[in-house]
């Protein structure tokens, strides 16, 4: 990589850059949400946009998620391409009818005649003691409901490319960014949250997983901040001679089952790591997909490491006990291989 291409950005800046470039390119793109204007978004996803595009294209909203998320759907049907922010995914319950009964279903109900190109952005994830109503990931819940694509980037590079793809997609796309991958100055420092991001616009296909670390002994399938943890664990495992392949799903819907199955056919071992609740979610779906696609290639039963089925406790030792981390991921992988 030459010096001039080594342009380092945090994930949050990569996202806001992607939005800005698309807003410049396409007058029908606009952004709305709580505190996305002057404040720049609580997690910085819209930083600088108000100054660049003014209050008609970067709209602070009342605290009326049903109202303004529904308005995004209505505006999209009328030819706009809104980017609308649900501040924390944990708040989905105040607007879920608009999200899943309208944004997600109208295209189908209309027999394909009405398009709903909305990007619904939202912050996910815990680990910093924000308690039961501000720390969840919940993509497993949304993924159960048909009609929306779901992307969950883990790196600045993917974040930019997936945002541009999401905006250009004619379907509603739920874009979930983990607070811990944003590279925010006020969160626990995370070197993996800063990385090379080309200045020119580019896309990353929605529905394609990415091998973040190739390996031959065990496949670790994960996403979002847990990719960072898995890569850390893979470094530790490498020192012990265990070569882990880390697959970053990047998209939950469509789920790249082929990429997972291909990897398992090579490594014969599967560990799924998830910050979302353990049961009835992503881990079960990934494992079942492998059972359906590569049963005979498995040397040992696939394993999962996920957030236990408990609401998220506030107190640090309690929450940290629940979260998968470098050590527990490495231990789980070790057990599969050993």
């Amino acid at each position: 990589m030459t010096a001039e291409t080594k342009r380092l950005l945090t994930t949050s800046k990569a996202i806001s850059e992607a939005i800005a470039q698309e807003m410049e390119r396409d007058a029908s793109v606009f952004a709305m949400g709580e505190d996305i204007g002057t404040y720049g978004g609580i997690f910085g996803a819209t930083e600088g946009l108000l100054a660049k595009f003014g209050p008609e294209r970067v709209m602070d909203t009342p605290i009326s998620e049903t109202g303004f998320i529904g308005a995004a759907t209505g505006a999209a049907i009328a030819g706009m391409r809104p980017i609308v922010e649900l501040m924390f995914v944990d708040f989905f319950g105040v607007a879920m009818d608009q999200i899943y009964n309208h944004m997600a279903k109208i295209h189908y109900e209309s027999g394909g005649n009405v398009k709903v190109p909305v990007v619904l952005t939202t912050a996910i994830g815990g680990g910093y003691s924000d308690g039961a109503q501000h720390s969840q990931t919940l993509y497993g819940l949304f993924a159960h409901l048909p009609g929306m694509k779901i992307v969950v980037p883990s790196t600045p590079y993917d974040a930019k490319g997936l945002m541009i793809s999401a905006i250009r997609d004619d379907n509603p796309v739920l874009y979930m960014f983990h607070k811990g991958v944003m590279g925010l100055g006020w969160m626990t420092p995370n070197p993996r949250a800063t990385g090379h991001v080309p200045e020119e616009p580019y896309t990353i296909p929605i529905g394609k997983a990415d091998v973040k670390r190739p390996g031959k002994d065990v496949t670790i399938v994960t996403l979002s901040l847990m990719v960072h943890r898995a890569l850390d664990a893979a470094e530790d495992l490498a020192r012990e001679g265990i070569d882990a392949e880390v697959i970053d799903l990047r998209s939950v819907i469509p789920l790249d089952r082929e990429a997972i199955i291909e990897s398992v056919k090579k490594t014969h071992r599967l560990l799924v790591v998830d910050e979302d609740y353990r049961s009835f979610g992503l881990t079960g779906e990934v494992i079942t997909s492998v059972i359906e696609g590569a049963f005979d290639h498995l040397d040992v039963p696939p394993a999962r490491l996920a957030y236990p089925d408990v609401p998220i406790p506030y107190s640090r030792p309690l929450e940290q006990f629940c979260l998968p981390n470098r050590e527990t991921i490495a231990a789980a992988a070790r057990q599969l291989v050993g």
Partner: protein, 327 residues
């Protein structure tokens, strides 16, 4: 006061709505009796008909053009027809046919028509935010199109009502909110659900004009809507109109309506707005008896044609169910 031409057009509109609803009702009960089976017959599922509520649809939509957005509810036929939806494709959708607006995927609560910017929703009050968004889009696109959101009086106690009105008012959007107060939300009367007598008074909570039309009169609706639509079109912001209208039939077809008294049912028949309006037009010479008869005959022909089209159209292929999740 609407012109005589407008009055005649509204009458025609109301007649075709009434005949459409009555004909759907007949089709609906085909194959379901003697032991009513909701899943059977050419039109399965729930069926919410709007007979009696024609004045609201006809009076409001007389002011609209196809580029105006209209959102309606689980009881959408009258509004869809008044706003100009193609009756054939609408009927075909209700019959679940491939020629329907949504290739049979939507059904009677989910009529979506890009040609008239019409949409509806089976979730109470949740069609309202979409209308706010359509008005927002119109402003961003430099169009003077507006959005009209129809909803029932039962919907006015939902959170989405509040959020939509506030949002439209804060952003001064061209939305007309039309509350169809038929006094009933299924079996719950307005007095048991709503803290005040008129939702029009709730307009003050959003600093917008609120008008109550107390008597299901299409002319009064026309006039109030005319003002509200003009205000919306010239950038003057949203309005709320409540019309005391009438649900002549059950909440859905098959509803035994045990919660309604015999007197109420009698009163409904005696005060059917369509007949009162027709008589008035004839009495005042706006409509001749022959004109009136012709309106019914023309509507009859149109409805029969549409239902015939629906009946004879093919069903979608079963595996088409898997299409159209994503664009």
């Amino acid at each position: 006061m609407p012109s005589n031409d407008t009055l005649r057009a509204m009458h025609r509109q109301m007649v075709r709505i009434r005949l459409f609803e009555e004909t759907i009702q007949q089709s609906y009960f085909e194959g379901k009796l003697p032991a009513f089976d909701i899943a059977a017959g050419p039109v399965p599922g729930e069926m919410h008909l709007a007979a009696g509520q024609e004045p609201v649809a006809a009076g409001v939509c007389a002011h609209l053009r196809p580029s105006d957005t209209v959102t309606a509810t689980h009881r959408p036929h009258h509004v869809a027809l008044a706003h100009g939806m193609d009756m054939r494709r609408m009927a075909a959708e209700i019959f679940g046919k491939d020629t329907g607006l949504g290739h049979g995927k939507g059904g009677h609560m989910h009529l979506f028509d890009p040609a008239t910017n019409f949409g509806c929703s089976g979730i109470i009050a949740e069609g309202m935010p979409g209308a706010v968004g359509a008005a927002l889009a119109a402003r961003k696109q430099g169009r003077d199109d507006i959005a009209v959101s129809f909803f029932g009086e039962g919907a006015a106690n939902q959170g989405a009502f509040h959020e939509s009105l506030n949002l439209a008012a804060v952003w001064k959007l061209g939305v007309v909110f039309v509350c169809e107060d038929n006094d009933w939300a299924i079996s719950v009367p307005k007095a048991k659900s709503t803290a005040i007598a008129s939702n029009a008074d709730r307009a003050a909570a959003y600093g917008m004009p609120g008008v109550l039309i107390p008597d299901n009169d299409p002319v009064a609706v026309y006039e109030a809507a005319g003002e509200a639509v003009a205000r919306a079109r010239r950038g003057g912001g949203p309005s709320l109109i409540e019309v005391k209208t009438q649900r002549l039939l059950g909440h859905f077809e098959g509803d035994p309506q045990l919660y309604r008294t015999a007197e109420e049912m009698e009163r409904l028949k005696a005060t059917d707005a369509l007949h009162i309006f027709e008589r008035r037009l004839v009495d005042t010479g706006v409509l001749s008896e022959a004109d009136a008869a012709e309106a019914w005959a023309a509507a009859r022909a149109e409805v029969d044609d549409a239902i015939g089209f629906a009946r004879t159209s093919p069903y979608p292929q079963p595996s088409d169910a898997l299409l159209h999740v994503f664009a």
